[in-house]
């Protein structure tokens, strides 16, 4: 018994070195990665603490203060930092609350799309033959429909709510993941370690879980982060077309849409949400690029 416990103690010492430290070290080496992470963290914090940051209610009209310019412009007051819109609502507060919708839609629809795409891509490539044929024809069918048209049709049938928007965007963008992941797995499954697992008798599910998915994870994370960026833009375009988030809920795309009619005379209504989208998307892209370099155990 004592011999067994000493053996166990000996085994206990074979621990792997910490990964978090290495991660931070690699992050410190990349300026763009730092900037991207900083932007993303800030935006996330703003979304979470919107109630505390925003100086005014984002939805309540203040008819006495309609279309006030930004504070530094002539006629602007320090009360409204970025001015007010056509209903007298504070643009700055609306921008802060809009962060929530943009991030939630961006992240959650990527989760939906990524999950479907990853599973379909791996299964399609690993099992091959008729499974691959059927799944890839479905992917082709999805690709042949212009996605914005598809989303518009769905959103006119179902009333656009946050949930519907997330699911619809997820359902139209999963094909990108499926195709990329399938390509990766096609080459992976011919590698000898997959064959080794097969000769051991490991089940298909375990091979997929242990051998295939971890090895496509770095690709997956990179396309996912970049997709968050494109999804935020997609949500903005849908809201701009009036099909996205419906008032009184606020999204950056919806704000852009509201500002469109006033762009020539009251530029601040449309410009600031545009800038917010650009900065957020840029931050995410920076982070995605950096992750691509980092997520490789060989580096």
């Amino acid at each position: 018994m004592s011999e067994a416990t000493s053996e166990v103690k000996k085994v206990k010492t074979y621990k792997r070195s910490g990964n978090v430290k290495l991660f931070l070290k690699l992050l410190a080496q990349s300026k763009t990665g730092m900037v991207g992470l900083f932007i993303l963290i800030s935006v996330t914090l703003i979304a979470i603490f919107a109630d505390f940051i925003a100086p005014y209610s984002p939805t309540e009209p203040q008819l006495s203060d309609i279309l006030v310019p930004p504070s530094w412009q002539e006629g602007g007051t320090s009360a409204y930092l970025l001015g007010t819109d056509n209903l007298g609502r504070d643009v700055f507060s609306r921008l802060i609350y809009g962060t929530r919708v943009s991030l939630i839609v961006g992240v959650l629809s990527v989760v939906v799309a990524g999950f479907i795409g990853l599973i379909i891509g791996v299964v399609s490539a690993y099992f091959g033959k008729w499974v691959d044929q059927i799944l890839m024809r479905i992917v082709d069918a999805f690709l042949s429909i212009p996605s914005i048209l598809f989303i518009m049709v769905i959103l006119t049938i179902f009333s656009p709510s946050l949930t519907v928007l997330i699911i619809v965007i997820g359902l139209t963008t999963w094909v990108n993941y499926a195709r990329i992941i399938r390509g990766e797995v096609l080459s992976l499954k011919e590698r000898e370690f997959v064959k080794a697992s097969q000769t051991i008798g490991t089940s298909h599910l375990t091979i997929i879980r242990k051998n295939l998915i971890p090895n496509v994870m770095s690709t997956f994370i990179v396309i996912s982060t970049l997709s968050v960026a494109t999804t935020i833009i997609l949500e903005a375009s849908l809201s701009f077309l009036g099909l996205g988030i419906q008032p009184p809920d606020i999204s950056w795309g919806g704000m852009l849409n509201d500002g469109r009619d006033y762009l020539a005379t009251h530029w601040w209504m449309g410009t600031f949400p545009g800038i917010a989208i650009t900065i957020t998307v840029l931050g995410i892209i920076f982070l995605g690029d950096w992750l691509r370099d980092v997520l490789d155990p060989r580096l």
Binding site: R16, F193, I200
Partner: protein, 341 residues
């Protein structure tokens, strides 16, 4: 068919050792699809009517040039590739015809060591997980017991257990191959198919790995099918050697006889292609060496497959396909005119 039966009867009567693996008329063809509707137009006959047996505790070397079907033979035995036809008897049971589901229990007894140690280990798994995989899959050990067994396996193959939680990329080629060997012996298999286990390694490391394989064979009572394209490695580890050419076995005999009493002209060319370590005996540019690459399409369905390259080919070699026959006791050759000594 008769060929195999004859072969079987011969070795059954002459050998007292138990036959562990017996391959009979194994054929593995790969379809070539072409044309508008991807119809199968031709077949690549990767393994074409191969028969051999391996006795318990021995090492059968399979040697041949690249593309001769030796790896496919190994893959067909272990069902990584589904054989087109033929029988594979393992401990008397035909494992080539059982359903994939029913083949699973046999995977415990037949394991494989792969050629490329850089691709045979999952880069995302720790050494521990790699070696533990077969044990976990077959639910043999759990928790602390599992760790203990993995540590034990690492010690057996000469790896420092301190490296348990490292990733494969942190190891050298020889160490990686040791991890692959540890994984292969984890289930205490009876038969290990070594698919060119040393050809991706430095020459100095090759000897270490070969010695390890030899030691494990003795300690764990293993039987090897040792596939390689290099004569020296095969000569070093094998008890008997089968020479493959274009999907067929052209000569099988004991290690000594293959070199002292070479019968097949192809075997002779293969042996002469090995560069000598003696600089005065260099054979570069020797007309005896096989110069041209294998070309599957050139061979006709008639006659001896080696006839086009054989310096001793006669007229009937081009028409009449030779059969594997026992030329001397325990020495099989597939040639109409074996070399005289």
């Amino acid at each position: 068919m008769t060929e195999a039966v004859e072969l079987k009867e011969k070795h059954r009567t002459t050998d007292d050792q138990k036959v562990l693996l017996e391959v009979k008329n194994l054929k593995t063809y790969f379809p070539i699809k072409s044309g508008k509707f991807k119809r199968t137009t031709r077949y690549v006959k990767a393994v074409d009517d191969v028969s051999f047996y391996v006795k318990k505790g021995e090492t059968l070397g399979i040697v041949g040039e690249s593309g001769c079907g030796k790896s496919t033979t190994g893959n067909s035995i272990i069902r990584l590739v589904e054989p087109t036809s033929g029988e594979v008897f393992f401990n008397g049971e035909n494992i080539a015809s059982v359903k994939p589901k029913d083949f699973r229990p046999h995977k415990k007894n037949i394991q494989m060591i792969f050629q490329d140690p850089f691709s045979s280990l999952n880069p995302r798994m720790h050494v521990f997980d790699i070696i533990a995989e077969p044990l976990v899959t077959h639910k043999l050990y759990k928790g602390k017991e599992l760790e203990k067994r993995v540590v034990e396996l690492m010690e057996i193959v000469g790896l420092d257990p301190e490296l348990l939680h490292r990733y494969p990329h942190e190891f050298s080629g020889g160490q990686r191959q040791r991890i692959g060997i540890a994984r292969a012996i984890a289930l205490n298999p009876e038969l290990i198919i070594c698919d060119e286990p040393v050809s991706a390694l430095d020459v100095s490391i090759q000897a270490q790995v070969l010695n390890l394989l030899k030691r494990l064979q003795k300690e764990l009572d293993l039987t090897y099918v040792f596939i390689a394209h290099g004569i020296p490695a095969v000569k070093y580890v094998s008890d008997r050697i089968a020479v493959m050419y274009m999907g067929e076995i052209v000569e099988v005999t004991t290690n000594e006889k293959l070199f002292s009493n070479t019968l097949h002209p192809y075997t002779k060319r293969l042996i002469s292609a090995v560069p000598s370590t003696d600089p005065t005996k260099r054979t570069i540019g020797d007309s005896d060496a096989v110069a041209d690459e294998l070309n599957q399409e050139e061979t006709s369905d008639q006659g001896c497959k080696f006839a086009a390259r054989c310096p001793f080919a006669q007229d009937n070699c081009l028409v009449d396909r030779p059969k594997l026959r026992e030329y001397a006791k325990g020495h099989y050759v597939k040639c109409h005119y074996p070399l005289k000594h």
